[in-house]
């Protein structure tokens, strides 16, 4: 490798290493669009694993196919039990996961269990765009993460893995020991890259061993380790390593742990080497890595946020969709009428077929139609309204007007609405989530004003409402209307500084929960502190003095989209 290795070179190497030590490395996670390069890679799989079967799995595969069991349709037809053998019971085989980015958590958990038994290896083909990704539990169990982004088919020549070389390497593998200081180095480097999962360090060591075996070496060299770190640890890096901090913390820990000091090398000799490793990894990271790291964290957050609410894929409830062809499975409902209708045209032919069993209706597996439902998660707009003296006097009426406008739109979108008002010392849920426009209007009109501004309490109430409704499958959005002069702290004390601090903390909590929000400033003049609060919330800030009702509704629309 004279020039910088491309993703394609890495993929080739990863495949060889995986074939040498399948138990220790788990598999490959490959982000690639369908195309020539991916097809060539998949074609090469057979040469790397000549003795094993390669099973193609898609995320919607049924449990029967995975775990085996009674093949119901075949049993019905044959009149005697027909068992099917599950793919996951085929020890030693390769699982090729197509469309891995569509994997649901439960599917990923099943595959992970197979990986944990060390019985199978997984090649996850991920065609995902930014927001979709393979579930973390699965990708963390695969040693190699490779991104084919930007590869043209000219870079990717078809290849075959040299089976003889692999066999020799497999035989040599057990003789190569992993030296203790390499364990130390790898773990430290992983920690400084912000990788919490201990699997990453393990994978690095195992891959280094496999690479040494492939090169027919007897000892793992530092160069080999550095090479491997590049492509095992590099893609997992969560933070840019900060070199200055680490030595101090290590020195701090020294005295506490006399019992466990086993490292036989002095710390200051290890560190430069670790820095060399870090530099190598840094060199291999693309230039825009910081942006990517950031976006990765965001995607991760978003993915978890949708887990409870938005993505609600029910196959039992919701708006019925046309039934589709499918297999019998525990999670599906058979659309009986559609199934019979599909079977009807064939009845005569099937009855007349030789050796046809004597049955009134002949139904074959291909006739089965399953019911499908589409269940949209409902949106919930939580209004958090400041009804304190300062706001009430100034613009409460106008704020009410803006809310009514939003209400009308929410009604048109069939969104749920909830209303929280804060005044005096606390916040009250004036209206639990509802779709009733009339009720909301009535409550709003009778909203009393006056007293202090317990902004933090209002946000707290919004947060708990958002959390509880999220678990019921709603997708909450918080709309805060206030003039921003928080003066009552969360404990009810009239302390302006504390009140502002509490509100800030609350806002950060709401942001941590990934709840979208919108701040509408109802003060006479735009308030700077409220702008900061909006930033803490990661919310759109909208000063009402300059915004007419139309712009408010546009802003809300933008946040909801």
């Amino acid at each position: 490798m004279t020039s910088a290795p491309t993703a394609w070179d890495r993929a080739r190497l990863a495949l060889s290493l995986l074939a040498i030590d399948p138990d220790g490395l788990g598999g490959i996670w490959m982000r690639a669009r369908a195309g020539v390069s991916r097809d060539r890679f998949v074609a090469a799989l057979a040469s790397a694993f000549p003795k094993t079967d390669i099973h193609r799995l898609h995320p919607a595969i049924s449990d029967d196919q995975l775990f085996g069991g009674v093949d119901l349709t075949a049993t019905l037809d044959a009149g005697q039990t027909v068992m099917s053998r599950g793919i996951l019971n085929d020890d030693g085989s390769v699982l090729l996961l197509t469309m891995a980015e569509r994997s649901e958590e439960d599917f990923a958990a099943k595959i992970c269990h197979a990986l944990d038994r060390r019985s199978q290896i997984v090649i996850a083909l991920d065609e995902g765009l930014e927001e979709e990704a393979v579930p973390g539990r699965l990708s963390s169990r695969l040693a190699f993460h490779i991104d084919f982004d930007g590869l043209t088919h000219r870079d990717c020549l078809a290849f075959e893995v040299d089976a003889d070389a692999l066999e020799i390497a497999q035989r040599n593998l057990a003789r190569i020991a992993i030296p203790a200081e390499m364990i130390t180095d790898t773990t430290t480097v992983a920690a400084r890259l912000g990788i919490a999962d201990p699997r990453a360090a393990l994978f690095t060591l195992r891959a280094a061993r496999a690479l040494t075996a492939l090169k027919r070496g007897d000892v793992i060299t530092n160069e080999t380790l550095a090479d491997v770190m590049q492509f095992v640890l590099g893609p997992r890096a969560m933070q840019w390593p900060e070199a200055a901090e680490e030595p101090e913390t290590q020195a701090d820990q020294q005295p506490q742990e006399e019992t466990e000091t086993e490292s036989n090398l002095p710390e200051n000799e290890i560190l430069p080497l670790q820095d060399v490793y870090l530099d190598t990894i840094a060199a291999s990271l693309p230039a825009d890595v910081l942006d990517r790291l950031k976006s990765r964290q965001q995607t991760a957050g978003r993915a978890t946020g949708s887990g409870a609410g938005e993505k609600r894929k029910g196959n039992r409830r919701g708006r019925p969709k046309p039934s589709r062809r499918g297999r019998l499975g525990s999670a599906a409902r058979v659309d009986l009428v559609a199934t019979l209708r599909a079977a009807a045209p064939w009845q005569k032919m099937r009855r007349d077929a030789p050796f046809a069993p004597d049955k009134a209706v002949h139904v074959r597996a291909s006739d089965i139609r399953l019911k499908q439902f589409e269940d949209h998660s409902d949106r919930l707009l939580i209004f958090v309204v400041d009804a304190s003296g300062s706001a009430a006097l100034a613009r409460l009426a106008e704020a009410k007007g803006a809310i009514e406008l939003l209400l009308a739109e929410a009604y048109a979108r069939r969104d749920h609405v909830a209303l929280i008002a804060f005044r005096g010392e606390s916040a009250d849920l004036m209206l639990p989530p509802t779709r009733s426009l009339v009720q909301t209007k009535r409550r709003l009109a009778s909203l009393p004003g006056g007293g202090g501004t317990p902004l933090a309490a209002g946000l707290e109430a919004a947060l708990s409402l958002a959390a509880s409704t999220k678990s019921k499958g709603l997708t909450p959005t918080i709309a805060l209307l206030t003039d921003g002069r928080a003066n009552i702290a969360l404990d009810g004390n009239a302390n302006r500084t504390e009140a502002v601090e509490d509100a800030q903390k609350m806002a950060q909590l709401i942001r941590a929960k990934q709840t979208p929000a919108l701040v509408i400033d109802t003060g006479m003049r735009p308030t700077a502190s409220l702008k900061d609060l909006a930033q803490d919330l990661d919310a759109t800030y909208l000063p009402l003095p300059r915004a007419d009702a139309h712009r408010v509704s546009q802003a809300v629309e933008a946040v909801l989209e």
């Binding site: 049993t75 439960d106 944990d116 773990t187 920690a191 919490a196 969360l490």
Partner: protein
């Protein structure tokens, strides 16, 4: 399949290990909930613990793990009535599991091919006298979790449907694990787990290196590694077994009960389950440690895992509930 990782070789994570040992000493404590990051050894610990425990004696081929023939709810299906030794069962509950698979249902195969009504026992039957492990319990559907907790508390599974009526013993220790970032568990469900522990990735480099080192030794030189830890595991097993025998004789006097109540009141935990679990866990710990009576030290050690999941959430307290419990323990047991 290789042997599971030895329990005593797990580095750190003392809270989790203690909680699991306590449920092995006294299964009535009622399950452990382990919340934490990926790769912190949650599933390793469960499997390791089951491998550590002595084998159970059961009727050969009985899907209900019955101790003797009278216990088996459906003796007709047995081909053999011999009593054999089985390893302590650990049943994995996959996500997306249906209620039928959990509680058992009509055996469709038998019904179709022979027209016989035959009950096919579910996962609950298989977990009897062992462990039921749910990875990602927070992603499991609520009604399934409800059902599991019900059975875990009553120790009996009752099925009445499709013209079947069957009841069988299902006494198991429920171990749930999950990553709180991927969704939270409803408070009602939280409360019904006996103990809860939070695990985090080890922060300091030394511990992390030790984790990697042992794991590597386990994978590359399995035999030597297992031999190295066998002694420790055997010692631990003996302590657990002695603990079980001593459990009934461990005393808890009035002052200890009072402390339990005071602690729960100070923390404002709802219901009496907190006190009961706290007492049971402390007693199990005393038995495990060979003490004759429960002391304040025992309470102090088990209080965080017995109570931290029963508190009302305070969103502004960033320290987390475990710290709150520790604070209260300092005050009450000062």
């Amino acid at each position: 399949m290789t042997q599971p990782f030895p329990f005593s070789a797990i580095v750190g994570q003392d809270d989790m290990k203690r909680a699991m040992i306590l449920t092995a000493v006294d299964p009535t404590i009622g399950g452990v909930l382990v919340f934490g990051d990926r790769g912190t050894g949650k599933s390793t610990a469960v499997r390791a613990l089951a491998a550590l425990l002595p084998p159970i004696k059961a009727v050969k081929g009985c899907p209900y793990n019955s101790e003797d023939l009278h216990e088996c709810p459906d003796p007709e299906i047995l081909e053999d009535t011999k009593i054999v030794e089985k390893p302590t069962p650990v049943v994995d509950l996959p996500l997306g599991v249906t209620e039928d698979r959990v509680v058992g249902a009509l055996d469709i195969e038998q019904a179709l091919t022979q027209g016989k009504k035959q009950f096919e026992p579910g996962l609950l039957a298989r977990a009897h006298r062992g462990y039921l492990y749910i990875d990602e319990v927070n992603l499991l559907e609520d009604h399934v979790v409800d059902l599991l907790l019900d059975v875990a508390v009553s120790g009996e599974n009752v099925v009445e449907r499709e013209g079947l009526s069957i009841r069988h013993a299902a006494k198991f220790v429920l171990v749930g694990s999950g990553n709180p970032e991927e969704g939270e568990l409803r408070p009602q469900l939280l409360d019904r787990f006996g103990l809860s522990v939070e695990v985090t990735s080890p922060e300091d480099i030394k511990t992390r290196i030790e984790v990697i080192r042992r794991r590597d030794a386990y994978e590359t030189d399995n035999k030597a590694f297992m031999r190295r830890w066998r002694g420790e595991d055997t010692k631990l097993r003996k302590r657990i077994l002695t603990g079980r025998e001593r459990l009934a004789s461990v005393k808890a006097d009035g002052s200890i009960l009072e402390e339990c109540a005071k602690l729960c009141i100070a923390l404002g935990s709802d219901g009496l389950r907190g006190e009961l679990t706290l007492l049971r866990a402390a007693r199990a710990l005393a038995a495990f440690e060979g003490a004759d009576a429960v002391t304040r030290d025992h309470l102090r050690l088990v209080a965080p895992s017995a109570l931290s999941h029963r508190l009302r959430r305070d969103p502004l307290d960033e320290a987390g509930s475990t710290t709150r419990v520790k604070r209260a323990v300092e005050e009450v047991l000062a």
